[in-house]
Symmetry: C3
Subunit: 275 residues, 3 copies
């Protein structure tokens, strides 16, 4: 399940099935996320009003919840959406953007854990903060914003405990990505640091994770394949990019054109030894 050829099969299935992915995401990345999903071969929808989400989630093959610009009305819609997803066994991804930086969103993130996210995908700081909030270990907040200040390796312990306790997959993005169910951990070593200079690349990884979950029932494999897809696209896109502006565009082009041969050449995915 954890080889480049399996990633290529997942990509092919997405393109063949064009799964509808429902995104309730932040206002900063809505356009880029929709474009990433279109380039990948999925069908994005960004419906986020409380009047519509319950009806729409049921049509979707997967749901993305991203807390980047959470507000009270959006929190209400998100709760309705994840309850519906949970009831209808629609896979859903939680992207805990900025958890640890603000109390409000941290509390919402912990509440959402009750609705069984299939995968939680965040950077190291977010995963550490989420685990601390979940286990009520937090008495103060981190001093920074939405960019990670921790190495993924330092979040791995929190990720495994969170995965076991919530029966979910936790996917930490960083120089090496770690994707774990608590028992097994997959390493993905694709991607380039300049991707952190394009807003929404992390959020796109969450959206791609949802697209993979929509067609691949093994959630650990689907979540790992997603990190290979975005990371490999980044590796290839970097060959054309002059800076973060052209990288953003090249990512979309590359994802659209990504093929099995490229995946076999570039993908760096393996079971972590400690897994």
């Amino acid at each position: 399940m954890f080889t480049p050829i399996h990633v290529a099969q997942t990509l092919l299935k997405i393109r063949q099935n064009n799964p509808l992915i429902h995104n309730i995401t932040n206002m900063v990345v809505m356009q880029f996320t929709a474009n990433i999903l279109l380039s990948l071969g999925a069908s994005p929808a960004m419906i986020n009003a409380k009047e519509e989400v319950q009806e729409f989630v049921q049509k979707a093959k997967a749901l993305v919840i991203n807390l980047g610009t959470i507000s009270a009305p959006q929190a209400q819609a998100i709760l309705l959406a994840v309850k519906t997803a949970s009831e209808h066994q629609i896979p859903w991804v939680m992207d805990p953007v900025g958890v640890g930086a603000c109390t409000y969103r941290s509390q919402i993130a912990v509440e959402l854990l009750n609705y069984h996210p299939t995968t939680i995908r965040g950077n190291a700081s977010e995963i550490i903060a989420l685990y601390h909030y979940y286990t009520k270990q937090v008495t103060h907040h981190t001093g920074h914003g939405v960019d990670s200040k921790d190495q993924p390796e330092h979040a791995l312990d929190a990720a495994k405990k969170l995965a076991l306790s919530c029966q979910t997959i936790v996917s930490i993005s960083g120089q090496t990505d770690y994707i774990t169910n608590g028992h097994q951990t997959i390493q993905v070593k694709n991607g380039h640091v300049m991707m952190t200079k394009v807003t929404g690349v992390g959020c796109s990884a969450s959206a791609i994770t949802a697209a993979c979950l929509a067609i691949e029932p093994d959630a650990l494999a689907a979540s790992a394949h997603a990190m290979v897809l975005i990371g490999t696209a980044g590796d290839i896109a970097m060959k054309q990019a002059k800076g973060p502006g052209s990288l953003q565009i090249a990512l979309l082009d590359t994802l659209y054109l990504l093929n099995e041969e490229q995946l076999l050449h570039y993908a760096k995915i393996q079971l972590a030894k400690e897994g």
Copy 2:
């Protein structure tokens, strides 16, 4: 009215007059829509609070209403805006994004028909769904999202009936675009399928329709010219695009540089035989 030279004249008038286009649109495409209008030569404004829309609509030369991320507060602002546009005879375009996919927005779309949109521009699935809702023929919803699952030809009958009944222009985008007032139907065969892999191209077609309506009093011609402008820009942009990312950028560059010679060479516009 329906020749490439007329389209070139419309484009020239937009550039000369720089009409102010008021957009109440979805959060996914706000940036791209504003950039499309700037590249075209119009002046976009994206004001959408209920406190401001009535005052601002009166200054605009045309209004765009797009339901892509409709919510209760936005619905309130939209109603105020279309009432004002209707009272002041300011042309307005309705883009019924996702109508048929959710009950809430479908009901709002039907309610908006009372305020006489100058043009309704959508994909085939949206036009079919809107007509069915309008005539109360719907008992269930379509199973998909915002991407069209129908061919434009199959929406033409609904489009003509809707146009006649609401005294509006209906513009269906697809491989062939059909623009009809119910009596006459114009065909536009420009554009490329990769444009459906860039989010907001349809919404941009609606914004360009508004810009054309701002300076061309014949609404059927204005609405057809708009589809030629976006379609021709797409045809030319495809020569530079490697994928959906670079296509998005090339569309803006091409629209900015689009000239009469290119329009005479590329534009494929004609009266449909059955019109």
Copy 3:
């Protein structure tokens, strides 16, 4: 303080310190603004819910308030944010987008002046309108939208009076930018008219101003350096741009790669004679 070498030092400090910039901005430009700040070397956050802004502002090194898509809930969050910034002496920039075009936002902008913006950055029409509202000289509104219809020179008198009266810096962008504290005025002659055809370039100038204020305590210098940075990036980006689409991308790449040598070559900054 007002030489290209000082601008280069400011840029270097931003890259070294990666200051957290809190943006409460309009929905059109959120993505582009975040990308501009990332390319510059700052760390953007776009948190804008009333539940979160007070807590978050205190962590930020500077705050941007942009009125482009103001609504009642956002106005509430903005008031909380600027009060907090003012109490904690966190520098903040007001971008009065569209002031003069709508009464509601014009009144909010005047109210915000009570909380001592460090810098007000807008186009000539906005600065003139803001000054007139502030001094209660307005009896009617301007007839246009968010694009400036005035030359920066014509706003200089209003800018100086506003700066003196509110003890703030006023930064007017245009063919020549004027940055004034009422006593001294700096001229910046960088930039290209095609930058007005990319939505959010003005808003990005405000965000860059905040990033400069975050690391440079002299607010007049910081505000002037920001205009040199965006203007110089524009001058260099124009060498690669075919139109507004590729200009937008080239701006991000250029800002990321901008170096001291380029600043010494391109920057056109000086004290205005009348200052």
